[in-house]
């Protein structure tokens, strides 16, 4: 690895101690590089962080479930040895007013019985659907676990990769190819309409297509994310969705410990003010306190806008690239509301807490979800939003005092650009929090009385607190034109940047956001494989 030269004290400085930065650091350190990670906040983890916001309650402040964290990272970095414990989610509950709602269980037979209460046909087709999706997911995994193919390159290696991807696709037969095209281009609802009749099932299934996007469930291009639910089955990680024990920060901490075990150095409360560039090369970073640190390689795990327009500065970049980054869509669309409650929420029609050992989706219908989206389009938060809530303290009692609980709610839509302007979010923050609590309380009477503490995070807060531009949790929308070889910019999808010795390793690179760790891993591999040429990837 000649790209990371031994100049100054560090081979590589990584800007940002989120999970991708830490994964990248661990891989580089494991390969013998001298690595320094700089985190602005007092805690590690970035958006994958646990904080005790209220005495005795551990909150997964932003990211709240582990979804597609790459099993290869867990194995290669020995994260289990470094303290990572993942508790799989067992249920997916969709309450309905005046009804017991729908609960999907990890036991398929039980799920089938639940679905057949609403539609025997859907219950019958559900396994067929799962099978078809599993087939598709096997192919998509190839794309996630390797750098993005580049269809515009003449490089024989690239052409060969494309050909191989094409061949593999064809091997799935004509149905498989058609299904991939459809998954890529259709809306989640249109795609599900091909299979199912009951909205009780379709609505909660469709929302996986909109998480973190500024799209509705009827917007084309949202179908692909449906596959993510099936990735875990083939990942070797039995049931991919889970809680990290002690809170989501546990993932980051395990990565940090792994990195440290390989000799990486990690500093918190070390905000990077800018990346120093001289003659088209990154030479080091300047901290907020004025310190300067030199390194052969600088790696940014921040989002592309913050990296290039903030830390680097457009004067070091050519106009065309700046334009690409400027038009890169970040448009945050979600908020978080975290609650500490003194008792377990109660959902009429169901006893006990069996059905709460997973996530709770407030998604009572397609039109409901579309209305939520429509409000966001015109600059308002949804009065009746889609909510994905989890109560991790049921399965992991370590995060709350006995008998008390943490409720972590992901809320969509909360557009960054409200019509009053993003800076006016603080004035609307509590109104937004009220709307969320009111919504959940409709399904969960007594909720309001049980609340001990409430934290409301708007997209504006996420930008301020976590450095997520426009509060986008994925460092950029996962829309078709911002994926694969175009993430974050055409020609710059291989973790390199137009600045020599500056690399990217965050969610704004392929394969994108979510608690996957793949960008950090793939970026480290790219750096380690690079022959030092600063050309585009």
């Amino acid at each position: 690895m000649t790209a990371i030269r031994k100049s100054g004290r560090y081979d590589a400085v990584i800007v940002g101690g989120g999970h991708n930065g830490l994964v990248c650091a661990a891989y580089l350190a494991r390969a013998g590089r001298k690595v320094l990670v700089l985190e602005r906040r007092h805690v590690l983890g970035g958006a994958a962080v646990t904080e005790e916001l209220y005495p005795g309650f551990q909150f997964s402040v932003c990211s709240y479930v582990v979804s597609l964290f790459r099993p290869s990272i867990i194995r290669e970095l020995e994260l289990a040895r470094h303290g990572l414990e993942i508790i799989p989610l067992e249920t997916a509950f969709t309450p309905r007013l005046g009804d017991r709602g729908l609960c999907r269980w990890s036991d398929p037979a039980r799920t089938r019985r639940e679905i057949s209460r609403f539609s025997p046909r859907d219950a019958e087709i559900h396994p067929e659907f799962s099978l078809a999706m599993t087939k598709m997911a096997r192919y998509v995994r190839n794309l996630i676990d390797s750098p993005a193919p580049d269809p515009t390159s003449w490089n024989p290696v690239e052409l060969w990769r494309l050909l191989r991807l094409g061949r593999e696709l064809q091997r799935q037969g004509s149905d498989g190819v058609a299904m991939h095209l459809r998954l890529l281009t259709m809306s989640a609802v249109d795609f599900l309409d091909r299979w199912f009749e009951s909205e009780v099932l379709k609505a909660p299934m469709s929302v996986s297509g909109i998480i973190g996007t500024f799209l509705g469930v009827r917007s084309p291009g949202t179908a692909y994310v449906l596959l993510h639910h099936y990735m875990g089955e083939i990942d070797g990680a039995f049931r991919s969705w889970g809680y990290s024990k002690g809170g989501t920060g546990g993932v980051s901490l395990a990565c940090a410990r792994a990195a440290e075990s390989f000799g990486a150095e990690i500093r918190t409360e070390s905000a990077v003010e800018r990346i120093r560039v001289a003659a088209g090369r990154a030479t080091g970073v300047v901290l907020a306190n004025g310190d300067e640190i030199e390194a052969g390689t600088i790696v940014s795990s921040c989002d592309p806008r913050l990296t290039f327009l903030g830390l680097v500065g457009s004067k070091h970049l050519d106009g065309d690239f700046v334009r690409q980054i400027e038009r890169y869509k970040l448009r945050g669309s979600s908020g978080k509301v975290n609650l500490a409650v003194d008792r377990l929420p109660r959902f009429p029609g169901r006893e006990g807490s069996d059905f709460l050992r997973g996530d709770i989706a407030i998604a009572p219908g397609i039109d409901y979800l579309e209305r939520a989206y429509d409000q966001a389009k015109y600059g308002e938060f949804s009065e009746r939003p889609y909510i994905n809530a989890v109560i991790p303290s049921i399965m992991d009692p370590s995060v709350a005092p006995p008998g008390q609980h943490v409720i972590s709610m992901f809320v969509q839509y909360a557009p960054y650009d409200i019509k009053e302007g993003a800076d006016n979010w603080p004035a609307k923050r509590e109104a937004f929090g009220d709307a969320v609590v009111d919504t959940l309380a409709e399904y969960c009477p007594g909720l309001k009385e049980s609340i001990l503490y409430r934290q409301v995070l708007t997209p504006w807060d996420m930008e301020q607190e976590f450095g997520l531009s426009e509060g986008n949790i994925f460092h950029g929308e996962l829309s078709l034109e911002q994926l694969l070889f175009q993430r974050p910019a055409a020609g710059w999808a291989r973790y390199r940047t137009p600045i020599r010795n500056l690399w990217m390793c965050g969610s704004g690179t392929h394969p994108g956001g979510g608690l996957m760790g793949a960008p950090g891993q793939l970026a480290a591999q790219a750096m380690l494989n690079s022959n030092g040429k600063p050309s585009s990837g």
């Binding site: 515009t152 281009t185 249109d190 917007s219 084309p220 389009k377 829309s479 034109e481 020609g491």
Partner: protein
């Protein structure tokens, strides 16, 4: 039954007639059967009020492909192109825009937008050949790729690659985008963005914020030619003359009730009244859902094909309003001038809100209108000094909550009128007659599934695989049965390309 015809074409619309004409060679006997009393289908003009005729339900003749015109030899049958006319984009309390074919000829643009528009059109001009190339050739079968397909995929790739890496990247980036985002990258003016976005969402189940709508924009932009003089009826007239000159027999007023299938082969068609016409080949320009689901015995249809057809999306979202006017209305943005084309929608959000209604099975409270006055070019369509307005109304969903009752139809008309009155105050006083065609009316009158004017939605997935994987190259799993209408590649609109490409496919299959 003895075979009197080598091939029977179902439907005498622009695609059916095109296919029939191109098939009628080497002594092939071709019959076209049309259920309606006139030829032309959606391109046919009709009298909608005594003394007033419209010039086709589909009336954008700029889409007609030049190579099809050449193959049909339509210039010998009187087809002429003419200069495109200006488009008025009216504005409440403002002068609006006038868009001409050149930036220079346009009015009301800011200096910045004018410059951007030039850059935008230059980009479209650069990608047009490659893009049109994809659309003017048989579809590349992405699903069941044979050697020929691979070769053509490679060639298509090469043609696109000729764009240069930068434009190619840009092309790949912009195709799946929402039209709103892409236009937002170019322009500042809401009015301009809305005007350009309109055609990308007409007849779709999308608003400008829906991903994939940009493909529709590029589609029409990359294929825009000069319009046909005399409009759609002139186009139909020319093709009909070409067809008859080649010996095509055309029977109108005869509906096909079913196809006769034996052992997986087409043997003939049965007409209303019981008459059977024996033939070994049938090319259907009707919409594929109707063909397969209504004209075929259910058992003859493969399970997978039936499932595919049932999920082929044909949600009609456009209505058509025809007005008989005692004079040309005064548009207050540009009083005193006559525009053949007027397009409403002052901002992308207005278009988006218009679409929102469709999602909830309502028509737009403030619909978006694409208005043409064909009587300016063809005064014979109306009495002296009088005019005809032909209005494409978005959005009016086929599946309207409560159904398309008489009062729903009236409500839609009132909504259209309210928008018209805003831009052309007092227009109501000029209206001497009207016709409101809801998607339900279009479905019935023109035999369209859910009233969809393109025989199937233009969404990326349905453009790439049209209409189903098994039928995407005009041939169907039933021997001798072919598709040749808008439900096939490259889709709906007055391109005549599906008919011509189907004819190629049928000829090469050596009937």
């Amino acid at each position: 039954m003895t075979e009197r015809y080598d091939i029977v074409v179902i439907g005498a619309g622009h695609n059916g007639l095109t296919a029939a004409t191109l098939l009628a060679e080497k002594g092939r006997r071709v019959l076209v059967v049309e259920a309606r009393d006139t030829v032309g289908g959606l391109a046919a003009g009709a009298e909608f009020h005594p003394g007033y005729r419209h010039a086709g339900i589909l009336d954008d003749t700029r889409l007609v492909r030049p190579w099809v015109v050449d193959e049909l030899g339509l210039d010998r049958f009187g087809l002429r192109r003419r200069e495109p006319t200006d488009l008025l984009v009216p504005e409440t309390g403002g002068q609006g825009l006038v868009l001409a074919t050149t930036v220079k000829g346009s009015e009301g643009l800011s200096a910045n937008d004018a410059e951007s528009l030039a850059g935008y059109q230059a980009f479209l001009d650069r990608i047009a050949p490659g893009f049109a190339g994809l659309l003017d050739r048989p579809p590349i079968d992405l699903v069941d790729t044979g050697a020929g397909d691979l070769l053509r995929l490679g060639l298509a790739g090469l043609r696109l690659r000729r764009l240069g890496r930068h434009d190619l990247m840009e092309f790949l980036r912009v195709v799946p985008m929402p039209v709103a985002d892409w236009l937002g990258e170019w322009f500042a003016s809401d009015l301009l963005k809305a005007a350009l976005a309109g055609p990308a969402i007409y007849s779709t189940y999308s608003g400008p914020r829906s991903p994939g709508t940009n493909a529709n924009l590029l589609f029409s932009a990359a294929r825009s030619e000069d319009p046909v003089a005399g409009g759609a009826p002139a186009l139909i007239g020319a093709i009909e003359r070409a067809a008859r000159a080649r010996g095509v027999e055309i029977r109108t007023g005869v509906a096909v009730t079913r196809l006769v299938i034996e052992a997986g082969r087409v043997r003939g068609i049965e007409l209303a009244g019981g008459e059977c016409v024996a033939t070994g080949s049938v090319a259907a320009s009707c919409d594929p859902r109707q063909l397969f689901l209504d004209l075929l015995p259910p058992a003859a249809l493969a399970l997978s094909l039936e499932a595919e057809l049932l999920s082929f999306r044909t949600r009609g979202t456009a209505a058509k309003v025809h007005l008989a006017l005692s004079g040309y209305p005064q548009f207050s943005s540009r009083p005193g001038r006559l525009f053949e084309q007027v397009r409403t929608g002052e901002a992308l959000d207005e278009l988006e809100r218009a679409f929102d209604a469709a999602k909830y099975r309502r028509f737009s409270e403030r619909p978006v209108l694409d208005i043409r006055f064909p009587s300016i070019e063809t005064p014979e369509l109306a009495p002296d000094g009088h005019h005809v307005a032909s209005i494409l109304v978005s959005f009016a969903p086929y599946e309207l909550a409560g159904g398309w009752t008489e009062s729903a139809r009236e409500g839609l008309y009132r909504a259209v009128l309210a928008v018209l009155d805003e831009y052309a105050p007092g227009i109501e006083r000029l209206i001497v007659g009207r016709e409101v065609l809801t998607p339900a009316d279009l479905a019935e009158r023109y035999r369209l599934s859910q009233g969809h004017l393109f025989h199937g939605e233009h969404a990326l997935d349905q453009l790439l695989i049209r209409p189903t994987p098994q039928c995407s190259k005009y041939a169907t799993p039933l021997a001798g049965l072919y598709l040749c209408g808008s439900g096939s590649h490259p889709g709906g609109g007055l391109t005549c390309a599906p008919g011509a490409l189907a004819a190629q496919a049928i000829r090469s299959n050596d009937m």
